[in-house]
Subunit: 328 residues, 2 copies
DNA sequence: TAATCAAATGATCACGTGTGCATTTTTCAG
DNA sequence: CTGAAAAATGCACACGTGATCATTTGATTA
């Protein structure tokens, strides 16, 4: 028990060849005769030999390890993202070193430093904002850094993000079309940059159109926070529209409106979300929402990882309004 | 650009000490004088030195890498599991190497072999059944294998699973209490062992009580499959109870019943689920369900990883019935 | 001060690979 | 059959670290 792994040396001895031959057998494009290759593969199979990738990296320096940092991994939005990303990475022959930031407010710098120690080739940040010093360090060490839905004010980092402000604009126009006179904009208490961009763009547009806007903010980015928002905001009978910057918030708000605050949706109030998580399409909700394309986001991230051009730094993915049943 | 990482050698040179001193500075419990440690830390800080964990592993053989294999990472159940697990691993100072099996039916053997190459200390399987040969290989190489909600017929593997049959029993008793006369049991087409255990235990109990049971199976484990099940099954007006072996299925079934097949829940039909995912508690559903304790499951896994006793192989975590509004 | 002992230090080895280099074997054309 | 080119092979080095060991430094006691 607790035996150690088989080494190339042992395989070589058993096959009656040099260790180099073993190494070459498992190195594509290397020069080995058929006969030797066969002997090596036979011995390797019998012993259960596996190349030690950690030792490989030592003189290869291509670790194929991609660090992924994120929080709230069980939220529908992030988990979908992680799902697609991890599938794509595997397809690219890369491995996914996952670090959970647990709390979204937690500083992710220590996690990224940990990834440095593992010589990660690149780091994908699903949520949380890396401090500038860390970004510098990534560049200094040749580690590619890719931020999702995070906009940093620098030109030396890869950023892939949905078109938040345009999405917020779509939401605003939709509520105007629904003839709303007084609308709520709901964000979570964590106030991520993406949420702020959406809320601000929305508010700006609505006010430009002369519609009164009430802002609400609180709690984590969750269904429960949306519920709470609905309970508090809908004490005001005048509110006839709401833009929740996240679907989770919107679904909670929707339930509060219909089931607790006695509103008919969309007759009495129009409710819009953002993200288009699977639950938004469930029959009990049929939420009208601004859809991010998870597939496009992931595709951009993967291509940024794969290609060697460091040109296209900022990639904005278009969003679309998905009409369902919660807007008049 | 694409500069390489700083090595201990360079730090030593800058600090005017030997490389050994650098190594010792970063090795807890090693013998270094205050003065040298200070010089080393200063130089390391200036150069941005990070220990190379991959090189460490080479003569340490404690990689601290834990392989995690799973499919459907964006499903509420699996993602919650992964969330808790990755947090716990980080807290234990271990790293999480995530491999996404994409399709639940996919053979996970190649993924586990890949983890061998990275010298993973242990492997946690969230979903999918590893072939026996792989299990043998894990043991031969001293890699601890931990299966979640997967019961293998061998005594040399760690298994952590919820008490499926008891849970199914709870569900059966609840439907009997609701005076159901003809009930449906819904599984997905993937028919995982866990799903089968639940369905079988349920069916057995119901039939023992003289209640007629109709089985339905199809599609992936998803909301949509539950919807489909509801549409097809509820053409039969006699069905007055349903046990869906997964909450996702149950929520789809519930929506089909109420919104498409014109049933009142729970007056006309009682619907039970299994898992207790967050959505089950949402106000629009209020699903009565058998709850798995995500926390307990994760805790067992983590302790199995941490401790060195290989005694307790099979750990069964109790389940509880959560009463909400979908059972009469 | 001298003797004893603990602490600190540097050189060296081991970990498991891939690869450059020199050498040997095989292939092929004349 | 011979000579040249090509392919295959083994040796040795490098990758970056932790640990062992002998040696040196510093502190403590008589």
């Amino acid at each position: 028990m607790a035996r150690t792994f088989v080494t190339a040396e042992e395989v070589a001895k058993r096959a009656g060849v040099s260790r180099s031959a073993v190494s070459r057998t498992f190195t594509p494009g290397a020069s080995v005769s058929k006969a030797v290759r066969r002997k090596v593969l036979k011995a390797a199979g019998e012993l259960g030999y596996r190349v030690n990738r950690l030792a490989q990296v030592l003189n290869n320096d291509r670790s194929n390890l991609i660090g992924v940092v994120g929080a709230n991994l069980s939220s529908p939005f992030i988990s979908k993202q992680l799902d697609l990303l991890s599938i794509g990475l595997l397809r690219q022959g890369k491995q996914c070193l996952l670090l959970n930031a647990a709390d979204a407010r937690q500083d992710i710098a220590p996690l990224i430093e940990l990834l440095f120690e593992f010589r990660a080739q690149a780091i994908v940040v699903l949520s949380g904002e890396p401090p500038g010093s860390i970004v510098d360090e990534c560049i200094a060490n040749g580690v590619r850094l890719i931020l999702i839905n995070q906009r940093l004010d620098r030109t030396d980092t890869n950023m892939v993000l949905s078109d938040d402000s345009h999405g917020a604009d779509l939401a605003a126009l939709r509520l105007i079309k629904a003839n709303c006179r007084k609308v709520a904009v709901v964000t979570s208490g964590s106030q991520t940059p993406a949420q702020l961009r959406r809320a601000n763009a929305f508010t700006q547009r609505m006010q430009a159109e002369g519609v009164e806007v009430v802002a609400w903010s609180g709690g984590p980015t969750s269904y429960e926070s949306g519920l709470q928002a609905g309970r508090e905001l809908l004490a005001d009978k005048a509110i006839d529209g709401a833009f929740c910057v996240t679907d989770l918030l919107a679904l909670g708000f929707l339930d509060a409106a219909r089931l607790e605050m006695n509103r008919r949706v969309p007759q009495d109030i129009s409710i819009l979300g953002f993200d288009d998580i699977p639950q938004a399409g469930w029959k009990s909700y049929e939420l009208t929402t601004v859809a991010q394309s998870f597939e496009s986001l992931t595709e951009k991230v993967l291509s940024a990882l794969d290609s060697d051009d460091l040109e296209t730094r900022l990639q904005v993915v278009p969003v679309t309004l998905v009409e369902r049943q919660t807007a008049r």
